[in-house]
């Protein structure tokens, strides 16, 4: 194995191949606080890419309710248990990644979901078991909170699916970092399904090959955000490019949120893949849970996010989420408005930090009537 730099772990780690970062890396930020689990993203993806035979069970995009939801079933818990409790020391991960803890004869520490594990994509939906008049019927570790976690392929810098494939059928595009399964070369061994800790590679029993999220690369190549982004009702998503470590740009929306303000964090960084979908953690979930999912910076990230209303640049950037179909490569705030620019530097969207509020009096004195809210 090679030694590579994983900035999310604050250290070097072992990986199957030498470090080879792409010229540009596709990345995204999801604001968990805005997601309402309407599953429009899920259907946007489903109708676009996975309506074929053998793809019926596949959800390249899914939204699960944390803490109990998961698709496939317990994908996260199983691996966390296999890792058997690992430790961070400040911002440095001192535990073992799934590459470093690979058993003898394996490329990564992994497991393969069975068919029934895919049977309940919405398991745990809205489960929070809060206070009721006659006392709680159940006593569970997480009682009075939940949040929605939207997930796609993380197009990782160090993909475990790619490392797991014994025949090099999975590749990371040098031009944009998107991770793809070569459908002409895959022989359906399902090693990638076993290796991906996020379980975002799916075996198609009709074609006999494994398939996965392609980050809507035909759209990305035209500077347009993927289907699950542009169809998001809650405007929780922003697609863009994350710079290489040491080349961070303050006017790059992803860099600003991830590297500068550190308000958006990777999902399960401890697995060691350097995933490139980043999450603004939920403000109502316990810090300990957030830290398990998003790493040691989760507490500070919530504080920064809570203060966004007093933080015009951050608030402005958050206003760009869902504001345009185009990929915003650069942003700039001028006073009370923020502008997003595409890769060529053309302004593609301008939005105010605060929408004007119009209060319509309940009593219309001019017309001598009282307005009501129902037709």
């Amino acid at each position: 194995m090679a030694r590579v730099n994983n900035w999310q772990l604050g250290r070097e780690m072992s990986y199957w191949y030498p470090e080879a970062r792409p010229q540009k890396q596709f990345a995204a930020v999801f604001d968990t606080n805005k997601c309402i689990a309407c599953q429009t993203c899920t259907l946007a993806c489903k109708t676009t890419w996975t309506s074929g035979k053998g793809q019926e069970y596949m959800l390249w995009n899914n939204v699960e309710t944390k803490p109990y939801g998961s698709y496939p079933l317990a994908y996260d818990l199983k691996l966390l248990e296999m890792l058997n409790g690992q430790q961070w020391n400040g911002n440095k991960y001192e535990g073992q990644t799934i590459f470093e803890s690979a058993p003898a004869g394996e490329r990564v520490l992994g497991w393969r979901p069975e068919q029934q594990d895919y049977a309940y994509p919405n398991v745990g939906e809205d489960d929070c078991a809060g206070q009721v008049d006659h006392g709680q019927f159940l006593s569970l570790p997480h009682m009075n909170w939940f949040f929605y976690l939207a997930r796609i392929c993380n197009h990782c810098t160090y993909p475990a699916c790619l490392a797991s494939c014994p025949r090099g059928s999975i590749y990371k595009r040098p031009e944009d970092g998107i991770v793809l399964v070569d459908q002409g070369r895959c022989r359906g061994y399902q090693e990638c399904v076993r290796g991906c800790p996020y379980k975002k590679v799916f075996f198609n029993p009709m074609t006999g090959t494994s398939e996965k999220c392609i980050a809507c690369f035909p759209k990305i190549e035209q500077g347009i955000q993927p289907q699950c982004f542009v169809n998001c009702i809650g405007k929780i998503r922003l697609a863009g490019w994350i710079s290489k470590p040491g080349q961070v740009r303050a006017d790059n929306p992803i860099d600003y949120l991830v590297h500068i303000r550190k308000v958006a964090l990777p999902l399960f960084p401890q697995f060691g893949l350097e995933p490139n979908v980043y999450y603004i953690p939920p403000i109502h979930a316990p810090v300990s849970f957030n830290k398990q999912l998003f790493g040691p910076g989760a507490g500070e990230a919530v504080k920064t996010y809570r203060n966004a209303m007093n933080d015009p640049d951050l608030a402005g950037l958050l206003c760009l989420f869902g504001s345009t179909e185009m990929v915003v490569s650069r942003f700039s705030r001028q006073g009370d408005s923020v502008t997003g620019f595409d890769e060529r530097g053309s302004a593609v969207v301008r939005v105010p930090l605060r929408e004007p509020v119009h209060v319509r009096p309940a009593v219309d004195t001019k017309n001598q009537l009282v307005r009501i809210n129902c037709p």
Binding site: K53, Y57, P166, C186, R187, Y189, M206, T207, G208, T209
Partner: protein, 279 residues
């Protein structure tokens, strides 16, 4: 009664042909290749019993040995060569799916007869090997299993496929073209699943991880699962230069789907001498 059983046992032993075992794979001549694994013509070919070892040279390795041995017989008609592989496997696994692997076997032969053999594990650069690969799900397709999700999941409920909806006419060019959009592997000619005319494929390799479709060698096959395991016939064109009484080599691999074996996770043999008998 005791004597009757004893006499019956003696008669039975006398009637069944003793299994001739040899320490190499001997391809005997016949006018016609028997493609049915149960064809009595196979009794004329001596059996070679090959001990199998786990693939433990490259990751992912097979860490728990499964198939202990494979019994190999071979027949040639002078233009093609057929092998019958028999191994114990009480479970027939011919349905693919998530975490569901299928039973399979393969015959590997050096592309050229040379003094220095290629690496037994998938060959090496400059020393290509030819692999003829059979799979149980492909056999099921050849035997008549359909190409719908209900053929794999009988209770599946299908709401809608966009490529099977009006105004597209079933079987029309437009309809087939649209269906391919939702089956990218098939569109690229990578026929891992679905309709097949033969349950085998011709492959070549120059080392682990390099397996790729090779020049057509007319491969064919037929596998039947019995009470104790599989009996599979694999045929292909006679290896180049394998004249009567000449030697080449062959290696064999077995995958048990029930044990999650696929790809590199397999039981294999080393090179075994392959001799063509007859004129």
């Amino acid at each position: 009664m005791k004597y009757a059983v004893f006499i019956l046992a003696i008669i039975s032993a006398a009637c069944s042909r003793p299994q001739k075992t040899v320490n190499e794979v001997v391809a005997v001549s016949a006018a016609k290749l028997p493609m049915d694994p149960a064809d009595r013509a196979w009794d004329n070919a001596p059996a070679h019993i090959a001990r199998m070892i786990p693939q433990d040279l490259v990751e992912p390795r097979l860490m728990t040995p499964s198939t202990q041995q494979v019994t190999i017989r071979s027949i040639t008609n002078g233009a093609e060569i057929a092998f019958r592989l028999e191994w114990e496997d009480p479970d027939s696994n011919d349905l693919p799916g998530p975490a569901k692997m299928v039973d399979a076997c393969a015959v590997q032969i050096p592309e050229k007869i040379e003094k220095d053999l290629p690496e037994p594990q998938m060959g090496q650069e400059g020393k290509r090997v030819q692999v003829t690969y059979w799979r149980a799900d492909w056999q099921a397709a050849v035997n008549g299993r359909g190409d719908t999700i209900r053929d794999i999941y009988p209770n599946a409920s299908i709401d809608h496929y966009p490529f099977e909806s009006k105004p597209l006419e079933p079987g029309s060019g437009e309809q087939k073209e649209m269906a391919m959009l939702y089956a990218p592997a098939r569109a690229l000619g990578n026929i891992r699943g679905g309709p097949r005319t033969v349950p085998v494929e011709d492959l070549v390799a120059t080392g682990p991880g390099t397996l790729t479709p090779g020049p057509p060698l007319g491969a064919n096959g037929r596998g039947v699962h019995g009470k104790t395991g599989w009996s599979v016939v694999i045929s292909r064109r006679l290896p180049e230069g394998l004249a009567p009484n000449q030697r080449s080599h062959a290696a064999f691999a077995i995958w048990q789907g029930a044990k999650q074996e696929a790809g590199a996770r397999k039981m294999r043999t080393g090179w075994i001498p392959l001799v063509r008998r007859g004129s």
